[in-house]
């Protein structure tokens, strides 16, 4: 960045204000801090299960800020804590979900951690079988087209999940009908233990877009502003009625697959450490510092505020009410 001091900074070029990029950083940090807290609680025996967003926050927030959560919809996947927060869920919502309490806005304690979804936040309900959400998002985008509304639908999934039939069928449908949907692949290089080379033989997941007749874009998932830029372009395309885009954000999963996993069986510490050095949290912070938008004291203020909310959320959730056991029988059907 040195020597570029006089040209417009990247985020200004993209039309993002200083406040907006700080807000982006704050959301990323919020996701990271919640995630770290979840692991602590898991290791302390308080939460049976955690599935992480760590390493993918940059991609998630870059993408989410390119949308308008008041009109747009998201059909995210279990790692999308950043997206969930950007669409309006609070640390308290998340902690209630993790503790499976009655007030959990995602499922009232019915679903596993990471299985978000709440209509009021425009977040489609997440299930476990991967990729089923891809056709759902296409159907939601079809609704926009049929109603002549301008909202776009974002759907995310891992690169492993891009090998499911539902990815193919969903993309193809969206291509044929030029639907306002953004397929966002968070390529973190692994499907649990299976490395990319054993999952696919193509160079880029984004290459698959060609077979569906819409653009495919590869972006460095640690470059928050680049992710924002390509997603914004995709959102604009979609709103204009020009159809879907497949975005592949290159990321890395910094944690094991879940709290049940031990990643030492299938990847080296060196590989993980190398990825940690490129973490979007670090890269984006660097950018903001260089832009003069952030320093250690401002960072601390943000961090303290977030930690306080997370602490309060944890405390609240820890003692919140469970759903009544017999409510197991509710909501099989409408009546």
């Amino acid at each position: 960045m040195k020597g570029e001091i006089n040209v417009l900074s990247k985020h200004h070029q993209l039309g993002l204000t200083d406040d907006q990029v700080i807000a982006m950083y704050e959301k990323m940090l919020e996701a990271r801090l919640i995630d770290e807290r979840l692991w602590l609680l898991n290791r302390a025996g308080k939460l049976p299960f955690v599935v992480s967003c760590q390493g993918q926050e940059g991609a998630q927030i870059g993408a989410a800020f390119a949308m308008d959560p008041t009109i747009d919809y998201a059909a995210p996947y279990y790692r999308d804590l950043g997206t969930i927060l950007a669409f309006g869920q609070t640390p308290k919502d998340i902690m209630l979900h993790m503790y499976a309490r009655a007030e959990d806005p995602n499922s009232g304690g019915r679903q596993m951690p990471g299985h978000y979804g709440s209509k009021k936040h425009h977040l489609m309900s997440i299930s476990s079988p991967v990729s089923t959400q891809i056709p759902h998002a296409v159907g939601m985008a079809l609704a926009a087209k049929m109603r002549k509304e301008t909202f776009v639908t974002y759907v995310s999934f891992g690169e492993g999940s891009s090998n499911q039939g539902d990815f193919h069928e969903g993309c193809n449908f969206a291509g044929v009908h030029k639907l306002p949907v953004i397929f966002f692949c968070e390529n973190n290089q692994y499907a649990i233990s299976v490395p990319l080379a054993k999952q696919v033989a193509c160079e880029h997941i984004a290459d698959r877009a060609l077979g569906y007749g819409f653009p495919g874009v590869v972006v460095d998932g640690n470059d928050v502003l680049e992710v924002y830029r390509v997603t914004k372009e995709a959102v604009d395309r979609a709103r204009r009625g020009d159809g879907p885009t497949l975005i592949e954000a290159l990321t890395y999963r910094l944690t094991p697959h879940s709290s049940d996993d031990d990643d030492r069986a299938y990847r080296s510490k060196e590989e993980v450490d190398e990825a940690k050095a490129k973490d979007a949290m670090i890269v984006f912070k660097d950018y903001l510092v260089k832009q003069g938008l952030l320093d250690e004291s401002k960072e601390k203020t943000i961090r303290d505020r977030l930690m306080q909310a997370i602490n309060e959320a944890t405390d609240y959730a820890q003692t919140a009410q469970d759903p009544p056991p017999e409510s197991t029988l509710d909501y099989v059907y409408a009546n």
């Binding site: 489609m124 056709p135 759902h136």
Partner: protein, 327 residues
Amino acid sequence: MAVKLFIDAIRDALFHAMREDEQVFVLGEDVGVRGGVFRVTQGLIEEFGEQRVMDTPLAESGIVGVAIGAAAMGFKPVAEIQFVDFILPAVNQIISEAAKMRYRSNNDWTCPLVIRAPFGGGVHGALYHSQSLEALFYHVPGLKIVIPSTAADAKGLLLAAIRDPDPVLFFEHKGMYRLIRDEVPDGEHIVPIGKATLRKTGDDITVITYGLMVHYALEVATKLEQEGIHAHILDLRTIAPLDREAIIEAARHTGKVLIVHEDNKTGGVGAEIAAMIAEEALFDLDAPIMRLAGPDVPAMPYNAGMEKFYMLNPQKIEDAMRNLARF
């Protein structure tokens, strides 16, 4: 009120529902200009256009998955699966997603979706154009399954299915499309989901069945009346959730029960009906609970003699009914 073919009554319901509610739309393979391979959707595209009568790519999981997404946004999609046999690629979307959407989201997101599919044999359809697949789904809470036996019910149940706030599988016996005709009320006509109906009363034996087999059973019953055997015939109409009360009452009424379905026997819908009765009305029974069903082979062969061997028909039902009456 006019006498209509089964197939025309279904089309009637679609026209009515689509005129009435803009959120209703039809999607599936060849449902557009072709009007569906059986012509159920014929004429719809002319009135409602290709967006509300949407020819989809050949991909059932995609069809159902997209319909679930649209339903989540408040649409009422009526997806056609060309033959019920081809619903299998969509099973994950149906069971993991449609059936569990309301439950897993704690009543937040819902899935008001109808999936129509022709099923059933006896039409030279062989292994993959003859199957009955209701037994694959009736075990799954969150789904409703409807199988009409009359044109009037086809219309009334399909309208009920479209209005239903939960996913409904609507299975149409393809052999009935142009075989069955009866009086169908014009305009609005709702037959409630979950209610079986007595097609005939009698005091000697109870036959519990659905779909095409209702007609065979009635035909046989008429014949057996002359021999003094009076059958009580319950048409289930809804396969899930089953009308427990009507089943138990019908079983108690004669104490002799024959369950009839075209689908193969083991684990078929008849299993649950028999189990229900054995659990709740055992001491009212005067005979073992009998089931007459297709043989336990993977599916119906093409060869005419083999197909006939597989299929139930009035003769086989007559034998079973007489056998039970004599017990």
